[in-house]
């Protein structure tokens, strides 16, 4: 053996030496071409994470700037997000991994201050750069107390950004108020309001000398900026004069303070307390002692916050704990009208937007941030309807189970979906979105893109994903087809006459699914024909058609027995969904007309629709089927199950059970040894020790067993080898090289590819003659890795177009002269085969080289940024390491590689979906999609400008510009003047200039400019 190997390595050396010279020369020769290729790559590819769609995960703080018309949301992960008018979005992330507890805009400025959980304060600003604003952190600060003081002395509990714009008042847990000059965070020690200073002035009759506790609230007098109100936890409120540094008035409330609000005219203070009461205090004049005007307990205990904007009064919480303690309520009281808005998740904070040029007029909208969504109530329309949000939509109102992206939707389909969606949104307010801050400078999206998300409750939501705002268009529910346990009259507990408190449910976050089997697993939409197919958890496949009218129809169900007589297996999973037999009325929109139910009802793992051939193919862990939705029958059912694969047969529950079982067993074992240990305790000390040692060893084995991985080639007997991973229709040369025929391709988890030749009757007899499928080929990849994608490349090496794409003149017809090739993408390699005779042509190994595996793959067109007419097709690939790759076609060569998702973020990687133009989405939390772009040309990102202007609004507003060419310089002019102005800003005169540019057909014009000044 050794002899053999010796000669072997010698030969190798010779080979090496022989190779080295020509190899090098080749390299030199190729050098010019390579640099050329590098340049093209730079023009084609570029990686950017551009925007986050959806609702921030775990919001923890809310801020609002009336002058900028921007709202800010801080999250528990330390992110800060700013939103203005639709399309105006900014995002920042604190370096510290701490929750944002408070957000305060500096009045009338573009700066804001955040307070984090770790007691650090951060100053952010919106800085204009090349005409686009960026959110930047410009300073950080942590209060330092005197040496030796306990940390509570400097633990910030309340923040007031003073209207002078350069003072920050920080109330602390120790009861002190520190005054800090901003920007720069310079402490003004001499002006601090220490607890001692306040305590000395407290009237003798106020509850002895007990501590006043922490500073709960700091409020500025709206008419006299010299005065601030300090509310202490114990109830006492003090009005402090900043100039004279002395208390003006004491408000001797004795209940634990929850919140304080100073009315507009400065004449009253509202306070809410822990016993569920709120009080109104008159503070007119310099009367040192204020009087209580009114005290009321609206419902019961447990209030949180009180706020008034005459004639409205807003109360958060305050519900009687015993009966409604689990509700999340805001009560709105307006003369005789009284509504308790009942939210589905915890209230974080709320504020009110007011009308008028200076935002001092009538309250127009109530903005409520709850844990899972943002709800805006229109206060000027009868019945206070909800205004639909253009951003921050709760994607996760039911958990997202899958997503599907369709690029470049034809206008006709787009309008039909929009109109179907409009009918569903009649309960929303007609008012425009009240937040108008900033200007959206992003060009109009070049095309209409749809993102479809499937949800656990059986709904499919259609989102307008063309631009920065992911806007809800239409919602489809599939639950109506089936009989489920849920009672349709479930929501009758609200609205009964005379009920007190008068609850009204608002918001759409509803994570509770009636039946998990309804969950949507796969979606495929044909954008040309309007046919949609969706498949779910219990093996149900629905085919739907877009109909502009409501229709009453029965859905015909066909069962596909995927086991094909395989015996000896028992399905232990869920049962099939029961279909409603009577006709069901479907509203306008997508209406189901055909249903296939797989037997066993395992989750559908692959689904494809061919609208030209009117065929749907579907696969589960047991096999795949082909369904003719014109004739409504199964054309083909094929079992892919390996008889020795028990796991696939038993259904999804058995594995969980076995884990449970083994856990239970180990616990039993431990308990037993403990019992035995106790039994023999008195009798035999030696035995006890023995048992003890055994127990310890057992525990150690359980806990300390190192993570190890078995190295074994994949075998045909592995579990779930029969699971169908991908299905593909192609019109190609499957049997001989002169006639192309329709074909169906299926790839499994065990590295098998099945190809069927399809015979379709001529169009005129399509309704009668049967469609037939004949097995044509089977390929078993020797490495047996799961097949995740199959693609046929035409004679030019480009992927075959989608069905009907050529018919609609939207794609070049494929080249049928040259020979086609088959690209099989497994988790480990990309392999190209010739057709019709399958022989390996070339391949790209991925796993063997760097240990990553393909998780997601898509075909994309990459346009060059330099010239409009150059572009390349490529594969966009996401690996299990969270890296994105682009692989060229047809040469299967790796082009670029970017790290994108953390490899531990398994759900993020699993949720990734690619677009046809080199973009993609993945979930960064249950409620947020991150949008990324691999294309250098096709990038969708927010571009917006937010500025504070000086007092003369009419001069700065270019109401009409002669032409678009001057927009850019004008903007820069404005910006420059603003930057100068900021330094000499008068306090009360601010203007927020908001205009939108519409960039259409290369010319841009300013339109619809409006001025909102304060």
């Amino acid at each position: 053996m050794k002899l053999h190997m010796e000669s072997c390595s010698n030969q190798k050396e010779v080979k090496q030496l022989g190779l080295c010279a020509p190899e090098r020369m080749k390299r030199f020769r190729r050098h010019g071409q390579e640099s050329q290729r590098e340049r093209i790559k730079q023009e084609l590819y570029g990686f950017n994470k551009t925007v986050e769609h959806g609702f921030p995960h775990q919001p923890s703080a809310l801020g609002f700037s009336p002058s900028l018309q921007l709202l800010a949301i801080g999250t528990r992960s330390g992110a800060i997000k700013l939103y203005g008018g639709p399309g105006v979005e900014f995002m920042g992330l604190h370096d510290e991994n701490a929750a944002v507890t408070q957000v305060h805009f500096l009045p009338h400025q573009v700066e804001l201050v955040t307070l984090l959980d770790d007691n650090s304060l951060h100053m952010w600003t919106l800085r204009a750069h090349h005409g686009v604003s960026e959110l930047l952190e410009i300073g950080r600060f942590t209060l330092t107390g005197p040496p030796g003081a306990p940390p509570s002395v400097t633990r910030v509990t309340a923040v007031l950004a003073h209207s002078s714009g350069d003072l920050l008042l920080l109330g602390t847990e120790g009861g002190h108020v520190f005054i800090v000059k901003v920007p720069g965070f310079r402490e003004l020690e001499e002006r601090n309001i220490s607890l001692e200073k306040v305590t000395n002035g407290v009237p003798e009759d106020y509850g002895g000398r007990r501590s006043l506790e922490h500073v709960e609230s700091l409020q500025e007098n709206p008419v006299n900026p010299r005065q601030v109100l300090i509310g202490y936890g114990r109830g006492l409120m003090v009005i402090w004069d900043l100039d004279s540094q002395s208390a003006v008035t004491h408000i001797p409330a004795t209940q634990q303070l929850e919140s304080v609000w100073w009315t507009e005219d400065g004449g009253h203070v509202l306070s809410s307390h822990s016993d569920g009461s709120y009080c109104r205090w008159k503070v007119a004049g310099d009367d040192p002692q204020s009087e209580q005007e009114k005290s009321e307990v609206p419902y019961g205990e447990d209030p949180q916050k009180v706020n008034t904007m005459p004639p409205f009064l807003f109360l958060s919480g305050g519900m009687p704990r015993a009966s409604y303690g689990d509700r999340h309520c805001i009560s709105v009281i307006h003369s005789k009208t009284h509504v308790a808005l009942d939210f589905t998740s915890r209230i974080i904070d709320f504020f009110v937007i007011r009308d008028g040029p200076y935002h001092t007029g009538e309250p127009s909208a109530l903005v409520v941030l709850v844990e899972e969504e943002l709800v805006v109530i229109d206060l000027q329309t009868e019945g206070w309807p909800v205004i639909q949000t253009p951003y921050l939509v709760p994607l996760h109102c039911s958990a997202i189970t899958c997503s599907h992206h369709v690029s470049a939707i034809p206008l006709k389909l787009w309008e039909r979906v929009l109109s179907a969606g409009a009918l569903q949104n009649t309960h929303y307010s007609k008012k425009p979105w009240p937040m108008t801050g900033g200007q959206n400078l992003a060009p109009d999206p070049p095309q209409r893109d749809l993102l479809l998300t499937g949800h656990e409750d059986g709904t499919v939501r259609f989102w307008d994903a063309s631009g920065v705002c992911l806007y809800p268009m239409y919602k489809l529910s599939t639950a109506g087809v089936f009989l489920t346990d849920s009672d349709p009259n479930d929501n009758l507990n609200q609205g009964t006459e005379g009920e007190w408190p008068p609850f009204r449910k608002v918001g759409c976050f509803d994570p509770y699914s009636d039946d998990p089997r309804l969950g949507i697993q796969k979606i495929h939409l044909c954008k040309y024909s309007g046919y949609l197919t969706v498949a779910g958890t219990a093996g149900q496949i629905l085919v739907l058609e877009l109909n502009d009218e409501a229709a009453e129809q029965t859905v015909e169900a066909t069962v596909a027995d995927l086991l094909q007589g395989q015996e000896g297996f028992r399905w232990k999973g869920h049962t099939r969904l029961e279909v409603r037999e009577e006709p069901v009325t479907f509203p306008p929109g997508f209406q189901p007309f055909a249903l296939v139910q797989c037997q066993p009802p395992a989750v559908v793992t692959a689904l494809t629709l061919h609208s030209e051939w009117k065929l749907v193919t579907f696969g589960t862990s047991h096999g795949f089927g082909l369904y003719d939705y014109q004739q409504k029958n199964n054309v083909l059912v094929r079992c892919t199950l390996n008889p020795s694969d028990q796991l696939a047969m038993e259904g999804p529950l058995s594995r969980v059970k076995s884990i449970k079982k083994s856990l239970r067993q180990s616990f039993r074992r431990i308990r037993r040894s403990r019992v035995s240990l106790r039994k023999h305790h008195v009798n035999n000390a030696a035995k006890l020790q023995q048992a003890n040692a055994r127990l310890e060893a057992e525990l150690a084995e359980m806990e300390l067993a190192p993570v190890q991985r078995k190295i074994e080639p994949r075998s045909p007997d592995d579990s779930f080898t029969g699971l169908v991973r991908t299905l593909y229709f192609a019109d190609t040369f499957i049997s001989d090289s002169s006639h192309n025929t329709p074909s169906l391709w299926a790839g499994t988890n065990g590295g098998s590819v099945f190809a069927y030749q399809l015979r379709l009757p001529p169009v005129e007899r399509r309704g009668e003659d049967p469609v037939t499928a004949h097995p044509a080929k089977e390929i078993q990849l020797m490495h047996r890795a799961p097949v995740v994608g199959i693609l046929v490349l035409d004679g030019h090496g480009s992927p075959l177009p989608e069905p009907l794409e050529v018919a609609h003149d939207l794609a070049r017809s494929p080249d049928m002269q040259g020979s086609h090739s088959l690209l099989v993408i497994s988790e480990e390699q990309f392999k190209v085969f010739t057709l019709p005779k399958v022989s390996a042509k070339m391949k790209l190994k991925l796993t063997a080289i760097d240990g990553s595996r393909v998780r997601r793959v898509g075909v994309a067109w990459f346009g060059s940024t330099r010239t409009d007419d150059y572009g390349e097709s490529g594969l966009t690939v996401l690996t299990n390491q969270g890296d994105l790759h682009v692989v060229s076609l047809p040469g299967v060569k790796l082009q670029v590689q970017y790290p994108c998702i953390r490899r531990e973020d398994v759900s993020g990687i699993a949720s990734c979906v690619f677009t046809k133009h080199g973009q993609g989405f993945y979930l960064i939390s249950p409620s947020e999609f991150e949008r990324f772009s691999l294309s250098a040309r096709c990038v969708v990102e927010p571009r917006s400008l937010v500025e504070v202007s000086s007092e003369t609004p009419s001069t700065t507003l270019p109401r009409a510009l002669p032409d678009g060419a001057s927009v850019e310089p004008v903007l820069q002019e404005i910006q420059k003047s603003l930057e100068v102005d900021q330094t000499v800003l008068c306090r009360d005169s601010f203007v927020c200039v908001c205009y939108r540019t519409f960039l259409e057909n290369g010319t841009s014009a300013l339109a619809g400019g409006n001025v909102l000044s304060n």
Binding site: M1, K2, L3, H4, M5, E6, C8, S9, N10, K12, E13, K15, Q16, L17, C20, P706, V707, Q708, R709, K710, I711, E712, P713, R714, Q757, H774, P775, A776, K777, E778, I779, Q780, L781, M782, H783, A785, E828, K831, F833, V838, S839, A840, K841, M842, K843, L844, K845, L846, T847, A848, I849, D850, G851, S852, Q881, V892, K893, L894, Q897, R903
Partner: protein, 388 residues
Amino acid sequence: MNKHHRVPSNRTLSSVEVKSKFGAEFRRFSLDRSKPGRFDEFYGLLQHVHRIPNVDLLVGYADVHGDLLPINNNDNYHKAISVASPLLRLFLQRKEEADYSAFGTDSLTRPKKTVLAAVLLRPDANRKKPPVIISLPRDFRPVSSIIDVDILPETHRRVRLYKHGQEKPLGFYIRDGSSVRVTPQGLEKVPGIFISRMVPGGLAESTGLLAVNDEVLEVNGIEVQGKSLDQVTDMMIANSHNLIVTVKPANQRNNIIRSSGGGGGAASGSSGRSSDSGASFYGYFTPGAAIVTTPAHIIQNFHPEELESDEDEEDLVIEADGEALPIPRAASASCSMPSLPRYEPHLNLRSTANGALASSTGSLSTVSTPDRGLEGRSLEEDGTLITL
């Protein structure tokens, strides 16, 4: 049957006289030396002339040295015809009764008579030990082996595990761990991948080339440093048909010792001695100091083409007629990852490694001459590698 061979021709130089013996029977005929035909035709002819059409035969002939050599393919058939002068002596045996030990190559030491003795007589019962049995060429197959001993540092071992055509499981597990490396900053603990368990009866165990706690350094030429356990697992599984792992054995005492004196003996790894004294002989390659050889010493002399060579997997295609065929290779060669690091990075690594080596050598005052020689040789190796 081919009539051409049927009739014995005149004794000319252009023909070969054949004397074929099966059991106790002889047959004589002749063949045209210039047109011997194919082996299968010849085989059919033999069955025909001996009138044993359905008997599987083992065909042997006596060469000029008197050795009994097999004829079982076109090549050795033609060789036999060409060397026959003038008589070709054939010995036919029934396959099931065949005595493989009769075939031999060690001709010079063997008297000529033994050929006949081997065939005609039973082998001596009192012979001291049976000769080494070498199976027929058609039974040869690649086996697991240690490779690249000439270019790897002694502390490392590169093992090629041939799974091909075996029913045995590969049979080992890997785990995370930490190993100590020497860096310019001093000793450093770095994460590493180790073999954690062997499956009894598995290929890995049966070769004896890998052991528990061996540190895995490379998989098929790719360094595993910086890769996660799952990544390395996937790499190994992806390469499982032709798995080449470079390890640093936990037990450094069985290392192959190269001939001393530095230089020259690089290829004599086959004379590997297992010796405990080796530890003291190579001062700083004792297990404790083995860390001197940093991973920079790992040499990649794999040609991607070679890894893609014939033992690479062939997918199975079943066409519509139901016949299974391995997929033939199309003309164009397979391509591997273009970004595969090949030579350039190693130039850098090598130079730093030499630096580390030199400095550590300098710090050891007790370095003996063989060590220096060794160091010199390893530098020479560097040189040759750099030219690659």
